[in-house]
Symmetry: C2
Subunit: 425 residues, 2 copies
């Protein structure tokens, strides 16, 4: 399995399939990788998803969907939608509003193209009008592919490989059951084409959920390991935008710092008190905001997803959990690129981790150590050796990651990447 | 002239015409005024406005509008649209994209109903399809009224007095020339009906601009007085949500604190260096975010607009500039309601103003004094006597303000309001 970089895909699409809904220019010039940019970049901000947030909102699904549509596809995964009771609530709500539905179940955690094709054929066969997706990132990512494919005569994979542009989509509604990827509030879909052995991401303004229902209380049963994994993902989403060489965007850096401070409190709180509604609610909202476009506006824009890129290589080869791969690679990347960028890392260390040293070099080192310690406190591994990666594999990992250019704060070639993997070992 | 409280209008509509696009319930219960709420309230978040932000974006107006519409109304005020060159840029851009337009000029700073009616009759006479509004809050607020009235057979004032519901609107585009009210990124319209002598606000999800073009460089010529006035307005928008008795919403309080910290740096910077793009850009984005829904989500929701309410009474009677009325009333209100709520005011003082006292009572007093000092540093008056209000008028001001209930953090009756006016004198 490889994570494939199609021509015309941006690095960001490749690394995490996120956020190309920002068209980035600096005073009419394209943003140049690796160059420090001072001040807000030109950007386009857009996020039309309507979010019904809070306890009990899933009982409104039928009323909201039924106001426009009478025959929908109900899409979900294999486990939690039913065990959490969300499926029952949604079905009850749809029936009460006279909304007819067909089902497509069994979306996998790493969603596959064949399931998207199956769903599209059900929609065509039964003349369905919209999609209601119950689940986390994988189900919502799949719904985005279905939404585009259902209104297209060709092969839906055309969109993922950039040989066709989305002209029209089928509206879809998301009922979120897991806060991590922020797919419930962005327009990115990451999918695996099993027959090609390719996993890739698609980002398009047409792919925002029309409405997302986000009831934090349905996440009471999400286990500690998954809270930690999703929380690390959310923190890294914010950090990867923060550390991309843009400075003089205080208003956006303030927001990012506040989000990370909050997440660093909320994640352990949610692990300790899994049924604390107030904690779950804040965690759910913070995770959605970590990748819904708010942190990105004008600030850096492209983000530096080098850690995500190196982490994806681990996941592809060893099936490493996404959050674990980030917990290892993010601090190793920070250490490697810190030289020359101490000021940004020191600011982060002081404002987010309470580091007091007035010396940038010392403060930034303490900040990086602090992040590693925090990830470890959540039970995440600190080193590649902890997850069983053999030292002999490191050159191959570097080759796999380096087939496309990565890095914005600092451009990373194959040797840089190998050095980071070695440091992470 | 009175600021009129129509039946079924919320206090928030009345005070500032803002944000009823949040439907507020706490676990299914309506939010109760004056009761401390712990944790995120249920809410609906929605903001579909697409924002083109940055230098030169106004040259894209024609392309974006012309993609959908060929005959539009061009709405603007009397002065700055033309003197700043924005009018010329927009006209050039519309012509280049083959978009035909009719003009309606002369929107006043406190926009009036008759201008909205004039614009609607031009739209009907010439069969126009959309609206392009060039200006600040008054022009964009007017465009919202026109947008609703153009698709309605009855009297557009019906919407403002809540005897009709908006069913359909004409799409409108905003070209923002002044950052203050955030009208460019919310769905509220405040208008004066001259024949009735009534000013009121209308908030409806249908009234978001479809697209806003926000080029900070066109604000280089905004004078210092107006920067200060708009900046104080933006800061108070954030504070009035922050101080409303909701606690345990750290993720949202962090965001609000960061915004106020940024604004307190950016406003004097913009006054000192009016042509500094990076400062203007951040100020423009911060002002839009101060009232675009982001700070409100789940946090407090209704906000406590008592300061706005008392300030509106001053503006109605003495034509006091909005920012000046807030600079006087906000600290006076803070002092009056602080007792029993020291914890929130102390948190704000420590995090925003750098107050170090560990004693809440002392810290909160220092914080209030700090805000008053900051407003004074911008050239705003500190006391009612400074703007020529006679002491003898205070009871009448209290009567005018108290005809509807105000206050969320603390409910304020007529005697409370009089005491606050006296303290502000």
């Amino acid at each position: 399995m490889i994570f494939f970089f199609y021509p015309e895909m941006s690095l960001r699409d490749w690394a995490n399939g996120v956020l190309s809904w920002y068209d980035l220019t600096v005073n009419g010039q394209n943003f140049v990788d690796g160059v420090e940019v001072i001040g807000l970049l030109n950007f386009v901000y857009y996020n039309p998803t309507k979010v019904y947030f809070g306890t009990g909102v899933n009982s409104q699904v039928g009323e909201v969907v039924g106001g426009e549509f009478k025959k929908v596809l109900l899409l979900y995964g294999s486990g939690s939608a039913k065990s959490s009771g969300v499926y029952d609530d949604v079905v009850k709500s749809l029936r009460a509003s006279g909304v007819d539905f067909r089902e497509c179940a069994g979306v996998k955690p790493n969603p596959v193209l064949s399931k998207i094709e199956e769903a599209i054929s059900i929609i065509r066969r039964d003349g369905l009008e919209a999609i209601v997706a119950i689940g986390g990132g994988s189900v919502i990512d799949s719904a985005k592919g279905i939404s585009a494919g259902a209104c297209y005569d060709g092969d839906v994979w055309d969109f993922y490989k950039r040989t066709a542009k989305i002209a029209r989509v089928m509206p879809f509604f998301a009922v979120a059951t897991l806060s991590a990827t922020a797919s419930e509030m962005n327009c990115t879909s990451v999918v695996t084409n099993e027959s090609l052995g390719v996993k890739t991401g698609l980002t398009d303004n047409a792919l925002f959920p029309r409405v997302t229902f986000l009831d934090p209380s349905v996440q009471f049963s999400v286990p500690a390991k998954q809270i930690a994994d999703g929380g690390i993902d959310a923190i890294c989403h914010v950090m990867e935008t923060y550390f991309d060489g843009t400075s003089g965007v205080d208003v956006q850096m303030e927001y990012a710092e506040g989000l990370v401070r909050s997440l660093m409190t909320l994640i352990p709180d949610a692990i300790r008190n899994p049924r604390d509604y107030d904690v779950r609610a804040q965690l759910a909202w913070a995770s959605a905001n970590a990748l819904n476009g708010t942190t990105w506006a004008g600030h850096a824009g492209k983000g530096d997803f080098a850690s995500h890129a190196m982490g994806h290589t681990l996941s592809a080869k060893y099936d490493t959990v996404h959050g674990e791969s980030l917990a290892i690679m993010m601090p190793a990347w920070m250490e490697y690129v810190c030289a020359g960028n101490e000021h940004a890392f020191a600011r982060f260390a002081r404002r987010v981790l309470g580091v007091t040293s007035p010396v940038d070099g010392k403060a930034s080192r303490e900040g990086i150590a602090g992040m590693r310690k925090f990830f470890e406190s959540l039970g995440a591994p600190a080193r590649l050796r902890d997850i069983g990666v053999p030292a002999a594999d490191l050159p191959e990992l570097a080759d796999s990651t380096a087939f496309a250019p990565i890095g914005v704060l600092r451009k990373l070639g194959r040797d840089d990447i190998l050095a980071i993997y070695r440091a992470a070992f």
